[in-house]
Symmetry: C2
Subunit: 368 residues, 2 copies
């Protein structure tokens, strides 16, 4: 039986192969006699799961050797505090406000640092990323925070800025929660990247942090030791007990990603090609439609999260009910934006987007 | 086939029925077409899982209505910071040091408050809980911290103290990570209780916090909003995305607990009877043995974590290898204590302890 297509913005769809393997291994992982949930995080079995996951992730994203990968807890919202506790030294933080998530990051950073808004798209109702050449960067910022894909507003920064060329000496911090592993990351332009797992990686409750070596060791005294990046790094993410089962599922996703191919492209490059094709299909249909509309500026459109609206919003409930009947799930937009939202993460096949567009076309024909 | 008996101190064994149900529901929870991992935390399906888990837990532990139950992340080590950030108001904190875990709590609380040692069993090498009537409590403490079961040192506080009778007006904070749900909690003597899930509840990465209403709303300004108990409580543990799959597994464990019976006892009362029987069997054998020894004072012995030693420690590796051959897993002691440790959490059946004692007897006969 065909599983439904799940367009949730997160927690989100996972590859069916991953779920099947997790189910098959639930009672006995590789002859160990234990579920992965039952293993000591310090035992040989879990150590092998952890090391494989980290190595696969490092390979998939070509993470340089001078970056540490940390497996943490708390999600993006906790990182909004953990980053300034570790990096700000109580000084200036430049925040680029591009939507709901970076707005939260700005507000939280104010607890620990002199956070300022370097740029904002609030006047555009978060539909267009402010071009980096317009950002007002401080000469003395401890870091510059950018959310490179806004899950709620559906804007994506498609090229990471060269902060040095813009006159800033600060490291760039990116919240890439909702598009990680859908495209390459230019690490030469990044000091720290973080991502909640529950969109493109695995179960909620796991947060990945990639941090350049030289940024470790500067935490404020009030930073909890469990969230001091240096403590976490020095203990191989085992200072506190890590979310072992979530790391295992993430590892299965990484193995699935490594096996993905599109022509000559593999892994993340293959996912990027698919993301371009999937998003292109839906945007192409929306742009040609008089029944639906999307408000995001074409240059800032996210490949992952696509908010759209029925021009006649009185049909919203009928649209969602019909979608559910067709096995097209979780299309309702975020309450702060309204309308619909289709999240097209890595686990969403092109066939899912084709099914969505076919349904949208049919619904429009019936009600247009 | 009989699964091995897993004596891990945490992450630890789970009931086989829970694992079987999780495996069976992995691709499609109750006809939703989704794995629980794939559900929006704000959707109807997950809301029902969450509400059931909370209600079952409240029932199992008879949690009064003036306590909120929070589903958080970070484990006990993060709570060591989160508790003083929320409760200390920067004032005095009395810590009873009973082993490795409360020692960590003491050290971490110093970041946020005037933490002081109200009592310590360091001179006894953490083998005996200092009697409450010997605790030196401050007249003005914001709270008194006690770890009611020390996982590493194997000491357990069997009766919660009445702080008011000891001259303290402060609320009692208990870290009950490693014996929660193995016995009742006298909530009239508690202000806040916390427990990492990975011992007696479910997967690592979930932390349960039970907090009395009047203790909410006093967080220090530097407390991350994701860890401000009032923010978490006001948002029904959904301020940040909760560890949804771990909550689901915990919920299955709660349902399993509700179904457990020992004579007229059910749920937690049944688990307590079993814990007494299981621990009694192992301590009884140890006390009668000249081959093995345990150093914990009889009045402070933990029912959950039982460290013991072979008198001839050169036989340790042979003991562990033979145990593994018999399907008796993860018996190696914590590195700071050495020797062996058997953790007898709720998911360990009496038959597992019987098998362990039979093996110990046989090993002693062969090598004694």
């Amino acid at each position: 039986m065909q599983r439904p297509y799940n367009f949730s913005a997160g927690p989100a769809a996972l590859p069916e192969e991953v779920l099947r393997q997790a189910a098959a291994e639930m009672l006995d992982w590789h002859g160990s006699g234990m579920s992965v949930m039952e293993m000591s995080h310090r035992g040989r079995e879990f150590a092998s799961i952890y090391e494989q996951a980290e190595a696969d992730l490092r390979g998939l994203l070509a993470v340089p050797a001078n970056f540490r990968i940390l497996f943490m807890q708390g999600g993006g919202l906790a990182e909004n505090a953990i980053v300034p506790m570790n990096l700000s030294r109580g000084g200036v933080v430049d925040v680029v406000v591009t939507g709901a998530w970076s707005q939260k990051s700005y507000k939280e950073a104010q607890r620990y640092a002199q956070a300022r808004v370097a740029a904002s798209n609030a006047d555009d109702r978060h539909t267009r990323i402010p071009p980096p050449e317009t950002w007002s960067l401080s000469p003395d910022a401890s870091y510059v925070h950018v959310c490179t894909n806004e899950t709620i507003h559906g804007v994506e920064l498609h090229t990471l800025p060269d902060l040095a060329a813009l006159g800033s000496k600060a490291p760039l911090v990116i919240d890439c929660s909702s598009h990680i592993l859908s495209r390459a990351i230019d690490w030469s332009r990044v000091g720290l990247a973080f991502a909640g797992a529950q969109k493109n990686i695995g179960p909620a409750g796991l947060t990945l942090v990639f941090v350049r070596d030289d940024l470790l060791g500067h935490a404020l005294p009030i930073c909890p030791s469990a969230f001091d990046y240096k403590t976490v790094a020095d203990n191989g993410s085992m200072y506190n007990t890590p979310p072992t089962y979530s790391i295992y599922i993430a590892g299965l996703v990484f193995q699935w990603l490594k096996a993905q191919r599109e022509g000559a492209a593999a892994g993340v490059a293959a996912m990027e090609q698919r993301a371009i094709a999937k998003a292109g299909l839906l945007y192409g249909y929306l742009d040609g439609s008089e029944f639906y509309v999307t408000h995001v500026d074409p240059g800032s459109r996210s490949r992952m999260n696509i908010p759209f609206f029925l021009r006649d919003e009185s049909l919203n409930d009928a649209f969602l009910a019909g979608a559910k009947e067709r096995g097209l799930l979780q299309l309702k937009g975020h309450k702060s934006v309204g309308g619909m939202r289709a999240s097209l993460y890595n686990a969403m096949p092109l066939a899912g987007v084709q099914a969505l567009v076919a349904y949208m076309r049919e619904f429009a024909a019936r009600h247009g």
